[in-house]
């Protein structure tokens, strides 16, 4: 929007990212950890789109400008696709583990610990 500084969007993205990091560290339930990972991915999306819109560095030609604006959008598309695939597989893993152990605490899943 006109009139909103870039720091506002980046600040929101940063806040969401750190909230996601805190959530991954603090929470015990794997589903909520997964949701915090999605939160981090979305904050990254917001940051990319903000930088694509607010072109901070002047570019040489209109083609480069178009390319630079579209690059932000493209990477967001790919991040969304990868996040969708990751959620599908990850939730499948979680369901397989829960079917086996019926346990919801991620601290208990330490079979690979040396």
């Amino acid at each position: 929007m006109n009139g909103v500084p870039l720091a506002a969007y980046i600040g929101l993205g940063l806040f969401m990212f750190t909230t996601g990091v805190v959530g991954v560290i603090v929470r015990k339930s794997p589903i909520v950890i997964f949701m915090c990972i999605e939160l981090m991915l979305n904050s990254v999306n917001l940051t990319f789109l903000a930088f694509a819109r607010y072109q901070m560095v002047p570019v040489a030609s209109p083609e480069r400008l178009q390319h630079s604006m579209m690059a932000g959008q493209m990477i967001v598309i790919f991040v969304m696709a990868v996040a969708a695939a990751e959620v599908a597989v990850g939730l499948g893993i979680i369901m397989a583990i829960f079917r086996l152990r019926d346990n919801v605490d991620i601290d208990e899943m330490n079979l690979l610990r040396g």
């Binding site: 009139g3 500084p5 980046i10 589903i31 917001l46 959008q73 493209m74 790919f78 969708a84 959620v87």
Partner: protein
């Protein structure tokens, strides 16, 4: 309404952004704070929806609507399915007793925010968006995204579709009881 706060003019757009972003931030905290997994998921749904609104304000309308379709409409439904099927909703199942590690985690998170923010944010306070003419304003629309996706980024597009196929096959194999 020509006041300035810290050097930034307060405009109606800034207030509206503040409202949406504030609600999104509160929902993000709610994801982490609720003990009940269903309420965390619902907070995340509201967060994604508000993020889609923010994408619309950034001229990225195709990505905003894709955010609603993919994230809010599919991924979060999947999360809610798993939470409800595994009955993780009640807070009586996981008694997360409050210990000192949680406070240390929150403190370290605030520290991360302060460290990163102090380096990045002050330089960006005075960056205003680029002026767009009619043609450039459609850079987030479906034609521009379709054209770029299928010409310049055709190879990553095909690679991502193979990745999604792998994801589909993998999740079906994980979920079957007998192959």
């Amino acid at each position: 309404m020509n006041q300035t706060v810290g050097g930034v003019a307060v405009t109606p757009e800034l207030l509206m952004f503040g409202a949406i972003a504030g609600a999104a931030a509160i929902c993000a905290v709610g994801v982490v704070a609720f003990n009940n997994a269903v309420r965390s998921a619902l907070c995340l749904v509201v967060n994604f929806f508000l993020l889609a609104v923010l994408y619309f304000t950034l001229n990225a309308e195709m990505l905003g609507i894709t955010q609603v379709v993919v994230y809010t409409g599919a991924i979060m439904v999947l999360f809610l399915f798993v939470v409800m099927l595994l009955n993780l909703g009640g807070s009586k199942l996981v008694h997360e007793k409050s210990d000192w590690k949680k406070f240390v985690g929150i403190l370290l998170g605030c520290g991360l925010f302060v460290i990163l923010g102090a380096q990045i944010l002050p330089q960006l306070v005075h960056v205003q968006p680029m002026q767009l003419d009619q043609d450039l304003a459609k850079f987030g629309g479906p034609e521009a995204i379709g054209r770029t996706l299928f010409t310049e980024y055709a190879y990553p597009f095909e690679a991502v579709s193979v990745l999604l196929l792998i994801g589909i096959v993998g999740s079906i194999l994980l979920a079957k009881r007998r192959i």
